[in-house]
Symmetry: C2
Subunit: 170 residues, 2 copies
């Protein structure tokens, strides 16, 4: 067994698990000052992106899948293995997201595109380097493109003024 | 605290930690059949790349950095925070690598560009999707490009025949 101690926690406007519409979300990771110092973040702001590793701690361990399942239970998509999808009900319940770095201030890192809900324990942060990107042609099945189609669309109340959101009154 | 159980282990020709020359390495991850079934890998072969999450278990927890250090101790590079570098001596000792998928066979996944040594415990595998790549321009400091310059060069005895490796006898 491997024991992890959170290095910090997510603060996010999203308090409940949601499948889609993560595009407009800005969140922060605040380091645990009892373990790490703000020195641990020195120089991070020279990177444009940061990889955040966290734990889907609201998933009941009894509900974790160790075989195959249909992503989101969608009957239009094939039954695929839990390691052939990124569902949160996975062994060890680990999430990894490449986020846009917005700011570093003391023990707090502000990011966009962190698809983890409020209170999520963070277990690592790493700077993103182009040398570690997927090399060569990327191939993935059609269902995965369909699943991701609505993932990053902005939520309506987070659209910027002047966007295409309908006015509240005609 | 968060408890992880390995989903499997790495088999690699590299038995000792090394900084560079990971380019020519082919490795496997073999799932723990007492926990996961081969169904957990169903459909993974439709993806070209897989993200592997593992633990640098040979790093002494007492040697973990929680502040800043010079990457590889190189005096030419700045002291940066442990979360502004990808050194293995980091809190929770977690590594994440995007690998090229070579084959899936039963409980065994063969990959290229997995920079983890033989026997490393793996705690998650996820399919790589383009929708989760770094979005927008990527920016990173010069030291990180210098550090990565030799990372993926092939090791001599793994070069393909006909490459520029010198012959053993003239």
């Amino acid at each position: 067994m491997v024991q992890l101690r959170p290095i910090g926690w997510v603060s996010s406007p999203r308090a409940e698990p949601m499948d889609d519409d993560w595009g407009g979300v800005t969140a922060t990771v605040r380091l645990d000052g009892d373990w790490c110092t703000s020195d641990a973040l020195r120089g991070l702001d020279e990177f444009s992106h940061v990889e955040v590793v966290y734990v889907f701690d609201r998933v009941d361990p009894a509900g974790v899948h160790t075989g195959a399942r249909r992503p989101r239970g969608n009957p239009d998509w094939p039954e695929v293995g839990i390691f052939a999808q990124r569902a949160k009900s996975r062994p060890n319940r680990i999430g990894v997201s490449i986020c846009r770095l917005v700011a570093v201030d003391g023990l707090t890192v502000t990011v966009r595109r962190l698809d983890a809900i409020d209170g999520t324990p963070v277990v690592d942060m790493k700077p993103y380097m182009t040398e570690l990107a997927a090399r060569g042609e990327v191939r993935q099945p059609a269902w995965s493109h369909q699943l991701m189609a609505g993932y990053w669309t902005p939520v309506p109340d987070e659209r910027s003024p002047g966007s295409s959101a309908p006015a509240a009154t005609p």
